[in-house]
Every structure is written in structure tokens, then in C-alpha cells.
Symmetry: C2
Subunit: 428 residues, 2 copies
């Protein structure tokens, strides 16, 4: 295909092109507008020949190829929607698992390209190959990211000896109120896309392909503000109204990603070289309590000003936080137990956050909104990054009064799949 | 404000403009692209002065004003997302209800304009006026549509005598498996927008304003494919993979809307003049069963070809269905019990459908996907339109094997609010 593509393994390094043919394929002015509009290719005049826009991702409706050195959906600039599905195997045959991963690989590459999971025969006597709800839709930057949970390495498949040390069991953090049905799973699939129907379609069809081999354990969709509502792409706000992600490391830089995100495979799991570790936490927000809290307490809780996102005592969102600065009362302006102060970890420990808001209607037990953050982060080694950070937050974070961790999982996110290979082939 | 606006009460009649200043306000090329792209203003050259595009709605990120002869969100061309919230009053004071409706009116007008629900004082000692998650986001064609359930006319507020006859109790349809917690409510608010975070924000803030007066009874979000994924705006597909809405009446035509949608207030409820009646059905789809069904059975169930959306035996989506045409076996090509054949009601009964897909993760009781259709329709008099149609479908629809009606409500959707007035002022 000649469609302009985003190379997830090279993001932030290679200049990208919008091909003329692609623009023409979009057809009407409306299409061109969308193609350009939502990508932020602001230097591209509408009359010019298309030209490189440095370090810009694929168009908002375009394609991110499934195959590459790393999986997409990790350092890929965030799409607007997520559908996260965790599967448990019902088979105990490793050969069946291998076969499923091959089937999932083919289906995923097609989904990422905006196609159905397989060619349709048109035979009226058999079920369609694809469930059909995305027929005619553009690829909308869909990525599928596969990871293995700790339970995958139990005694079913004979792989206990291959479990990476970095795939550590998440300790029971203080205040955890975990629900098993919203946690863990043998395999996780994170689907991100700029359309929620497209993301849902992917998990649904992977579940369908897995019939008789694996079942969905949990599924959660999420969103952040769309590129349409925020064409300038400011830092998104969480459902507590605060900007979330300001201090994310610049993983578009390969050196930064290498330091923070990519597993090196050096700790006895060479098959994880080029993979990553993903922690997922379903964090329910006590919306109704938060909404009754004063602005001052809200800002002290995050350590930031709500409207500007600036660290307390500063003017701009990206101004450096001054944790030593004290106010008239002699206390630090940024409270030591604020979320930002604790999560900064003295600048020594970093993770790459990639979370989405979720809202599931009313919790019938309490009559309150079931809404919050599907926290997702990637790191090279959770024992050195996510776990110590979360331990610190769980112990002291002022935000804990307003949140509740109800789901949890940690997964070994596989290296990228080369064309002709399949998901997990370095392990299986 | 000079922002180009869509007049919901005049849609399909008045030519609309994109103001030059508005285009400039959008700033970058990206913004213009978005503005034009997602609206489908295909006749508008990028170099021309803006000029009228007949019968086109507001830009995808633009504003639909809250005030008007009719409420928005009824004949308004569909936005991409819905957040539907049903409230029950905890007060029994009509004066308190009136006060709440006035507060909701002010908040709704501001939300539709892309603003917070009230001006922020910046006072650190009080909670913020707005919950903040939409700060900086564009209005994205947000509409808020208020309706009253039958329970509003019980003995609490002394309004039993004002209940419109057309606000009939929905009969218990054959096969209904209704869950009370997903049905009814004193007041319904349908929020539609081209961004799900914006839609959620609206219901959340209305609930917050209602504290001590009303509580959320149920809330359900929904989506259809986004304008980004489908810039040409084809008929959306439901989660069974079929196009849904092909035969919707052209309510952009005021005569059609007058005949099908707008209540006349002639049946003893003059306060409903210019309002409408909304039926909401939460229709769960037995996804896993459907996905094992042959293409032939799927197409016979809907009466349409899956890929093209054409009536069986025809080539184009909008070709006329021929219910008399028989196949080699002497039977009608479009089965008499197909969804389309039954819902057509001999061409005599029409409703205006405006539904969204929903998916709520896994149903923990069954391990299956909790997904389906949030069916929403508007009609002038449900006794003559929605109810007889649904009775016929409930009795015989071949689709019933694959769906389950689990939520239900019918609501008197109030007339539009004139500036200076408030929601429900013709009744209260």
C-alpha cells in the first residue's frame, strides 16, 4: 500500500511524508482538510507539493504499520481512544497458543491497515470472516500491542523458566482495593485508535478468533479529548480537571525511549529485547467527593494550578517545579505529599505514562459515577521504575483520598514483530 | 459571539455560513482543515471566500446554540457520541424543580457554547464552578436535550393533570427483559457531541448542580463511527455490522419533521407544542451468537445485503425494497419477518431514529460482551408511531433471536427554550 505510514520504531527520528496520491485518494476537500487538520502538519501549505514534516506522526486517519522493531502503541504519540482487553487461555497446549498468536498476527496487521481481519468469501453459507462494523472506515492510526501476564508463565505451557525477572509480581500496595475480575490475565491486548468503534472492533474480532482457545477476562474502553476538540494538542486533562502527562519523558527521542521504555533482554530473558513492561491500573475517582473540594485543596493535591497546569508558584505549564520554595507560612508552596512532588521521585525514576479516562455509567451499589483513569505506563524494568514509584504514592499521596485502585496488571510487552514472524515468536 | 452557528430549528432550510473570522480564529491550516473537513462543506474551495453551503450543519468542532424554537439533538444531524443521563428527583418541591431547571438552562447554554458551567471566581477557598475537564476544548456541536418521564407526572408535583396523553406508558412488549436500573427516570438529558469527554462532562456537571435535588438514575454513553474515520459520512453501521438508518426520514425538511417529529400540543398538552417524544431502548446484542451465524442468515435477518446495505435483491443502499419479488423457491427475497420488512410498516408509520452503539466491557455474570444499541427515536405521538412499530417487531422480528431489550424509557421532550426562558417553562 502506498498510504503514508508512521514507523513506530522510528518516531521522532525520520521525517515523514504525506503522499500526494494519498491526499488525492481522500477525495473531497473535506478529506484533505481532515487528513491535514488532525495531524498538526501545520507547515504544510494547502497549495504546496507535500513535503516532509519533521518528526510528525501519521495523519490522524492514517496507518501505523503493525510490523516493526518495536510494537506500536508504546512510544507512538497517543491516539484518542483505547480498548484494552485481557484474555485467559482455555487451552493448555502451547502449540494451540502458537497457532492463535499467528492468527492474531495476521488479523492485527490487517486491522492496523484498516482492513477486515480476513478476506470475505461472500459465501452465504458461512459466517462472515470479519464482524463488519468497520467496513469503509479509515485506519485512524490503530495500534495493537500484545503483552503477557505473569500467569502465562505458570505450569500450563512449560514456560516458567522463561519468565523475565522484570515481570515481577506487583506487590500489594497500601490502600489497594483490587477486584480480580478487573485485574491480570494471561495476555493483554491494548488497542489504540482515533475512533472508539474501530478500537472495539479489534478486541471483539481477536476474541472471536480465539474462540475455544482463550476468553476475554476483562475489557475496558477509554478516551481522552479528541483531536477535533483540541486541534492544537494541549496536554489532556483527566476527569479531576487537571492536566495529566505534562512531565512525560520525550520518548520520541530514541535515547530517552532506550533509557526508560525498552527492555534490554539482559536479565535472563533475551526474547524480551526490544519489548517493554506495561503496568495497568484501573483507578476509580471519587468524583463526587472531589467535586466538593476547594480549588486550593485540589491544587495542593496535584501540586499544580488547575487552569494553567503550572507547578504551584510558577506561571507556565512547563516551568520547572521549585520544591524548595516556601510560602508565607514557611511551608513548601508545593506540598511534599502532593501527587507531583511524590511522582517526580527526585527526578531519578521515570516512567512513560499513556493512560486514558474511563466512565462506565453508574455504580448500582452506590449510585455514584463509575469513572476514573485507566492508568497505563511503560517502563524498562518495573522493579526499578513503576513499583517503587507506586509504593511511594500508595503510602503518602495526598490524591489517595480521592481515588481507589480497583484493577491491576503488569505485562511483558513483546518485541515488535518482523514481517513473516508472529507475536511472541522470540519466546515460542 | 460571532462563531458560525447551526440553527437546530431551521436545519435543512436556511443556508449556513462559515465566517471568515471564524476560520481565522481557528488559526493554523490544521484548524481550517478540521473546520472544513469534518463538516462536509465539499463545495467550499479553500481559496474562495466562504460562501453559503446549503443545508449543511455547523462545523464539526463548532457551536449549536442551546436556545431556539425546538431543542437541539432531535433533527440535528447526528453527532459522533452520546451521553444519556436519567435523573430522579429527591425533592418534592415544585419550586425547587423550577429553580433547578433554571440552573440547568444557564449551564446548558454555556456548555453548548463550549464554556464552563459558570464563571470561575478563582477563589481557592471554594470548589471550582466547573469540573474542568473540558477547559480549552472546542464546542464540538454539543447539544443538550431535556425530556420528562411519566413518573414526573405522579402525585409529587401536582402535575398529574398536565401529563400528555401521548406520553403513554410503554406496554410490556413480548420478550422484554427490562432492568429497572436501566429504565425510566423523572427527567432525561441526552447530550450529543463530537467528543465523548465533552458529552460526559455535561452530564457530570448537571448532576453536580442537581445535588440535593435530583440524582442520576442511570447513565449510558454511546458512539457511532467518527467523522474522522468516515469523512464522507456514509450511513453508520451497528455492532452487528449492518448499516443502520438508511431509511430514516429526511427530517432536515421542516415538513417531514412536522409530520413525524414535532408534537402539536393539540391533545390537551399545549405546553408540548414544538416538543417531541423520545423512546429509548437499551438493546443488548448477543454478539457471540450473531458472530457464529452465516452471512445468508444475517442478511435474511435484516433484509439487506451486509456490505452494500442494499435491500436483498437490489444493488444500491438506497434502492427501493421490493417486498413482492420472489426467489427461485417462490418465497419473497426479502423475508416477511426480516427487520426491514417489519419496520417499514407498509410505509405508513415512520419514526426518526438517532441511536448509538454502546459497549460496557464484559458482563461478569456471563463472561460475554455487554454491547449493543442504545436505540433512540423521536416521534410526534408514540401511540401512533413507536409503540405499534415496536409491538410488531417484538412479536415477529427475526432479529429478536440476536437481541435482548434490557432498558426502556419514554419521555416528553420539551419545546425549545427561548433566550430568557428556561427548560420546561411552558409547563412550570
Amino acid at each position: 500500500m502506498d498510504r503514508e505510514i508512521e514507523q513506530p520504531q522510528n518516531e521522532g527520528r525520520e521525517p515523514k511524508r504525506v503522499s500526494r496520491r494519498d491526499v488525492l485518494k481522500m477525495g473531497a476537500v473535506g478529506g484533505i482538510g481532515l487528513l491535514l487538520g488532525a495531524t498538526g502538519l501545520k507547515g504544510l501549505s494547502l497549495l504546496d507539493e507535500p513535503k516532509p514534516a519533521s518528526a510528525k506522526p501519521a495523519p490522524a486517519a492514517g496507518t501505523i504499520p503493525f510490523y516493526g522493531a518495536h510494537q506500536g502503541g508504546i512510544v507512538t504519540p497517543m491516539q484518542d481512544y483505547v480498548c484494552m482487553g485481557a484474555f485467559d487461555f482455555t487451552t493448555t497446549s502451547l502449540e494451540t497458543v502458537r497457532k492463535l498468536f499467528k492468527q492474531w498476527t495476521d488479523a492485527s496487521a490487517r486491522i492496523a491497515a484498516g482492513e477486515g481481519v480476513a478476506d470475505e468469501s461472500g459465501n452465504a453459507l458461512v459466517p462472515p470472516a470479519d464482524t463488519g462494523e468497520t467496513i469503509g472506515l479509515l485506519p485512524v492510526r490503530t495500534t495493537l500491542t500484545f503483552g503477557l501476564g505473569a500467569s502465562f508463565f505458570d505450569d500450563r505451557f512449560g514456560l516458567a523458566g522463561k519468565r523475565p525477572k522484570a515481570l515481577a509480581d506487583i506487590p500489594a500496595f497500601k490502600r489497594d482495593e483490587l477486584v480480580p475480575e478487573w485485574s491480570h490475565g494471561d495476555v493483554i491486548v491494548q488497542v489504540c485508535a482515533n475512533d472508539p468503534q474501530v478500537a472495539f472492533h479489534a478486541i471483539r474480532n481477536l476474541a472471536r478468533i480465539a474462540r475455544g482457545k482463550a476468553v476475554l477476562r476483562w475489557m475496558q474502553q477509554g478516551y481522552q479529548r479528541s483531536g477535533l476538540a483540541d486541534p492544537k494538542g494541549a496536554t489532556p486533562r483527566n476527569l479531576l480537571g487537571f492536566k495529566d502527562g505534562t512531565n512525560n519523558p520525550a520518548v520520541g527521542d530514541a535515547d530517552v525511549a532506550g533509557e526508560i521504555v525498552w527492555a534490554k533482554g539482559a536479565d535472563g530473558a533475551p526474547w524480551m529485547d526490544g519489548g517493554s513492561y506495561m503496568a495497568v491500573r484501573r483507578i476509580r475517582m471519587r468524583i463526587e467527593v472531589w467535586d466538593r473540594t476547594t480549588l486550593g485543596e485540589q491544587e495542593a493535591t496535584f501540586g499544580r494550578h488547575r487552569d494553567s497546569g503550572a507547578p504551584l508558584g510558577q506561571a507556565g505549564e512547563f516551568d520547572k517545579a521549585d520544591y524548595a520554595k516556601t510560602g508565607k507560612n514557611g511551608k513548601p508552596i508545593i506540598p511534599a505529599d502532593s501527587h507531583m512532588a511524590l511522582a517526580s521521585m527526585g527526578g531519578k525514576v521515570k516512567i512513560h505514562r499513556r493512560g486514558y479516562s474511563y466512565s462506565n455509567g453508574i455504580d448500582l451499589r452506590t449510585g455514584q459515577l463509575d469513572a476514573g483513569l485507566l492508568f497505563i505506563c511503560f517502563n524498562r524494568d518495573p522493579r526499578e521504575q513503576f513499583i517503587p514509584m507506586q509504593e511511594k504514592l500508595a503510602a503518602s499521596d495526598r490524591l489517595n483520598e480521592y481515588i481507589q485502585h480497583v484493577g491491576s496488571g503488569i505485562y511483558a510487552v513483546l518485541p515488535g514483530v518482523r514481517e513473516g514472524g508472529y507475536i511472541g515468536d522470540t519466546l515460542l
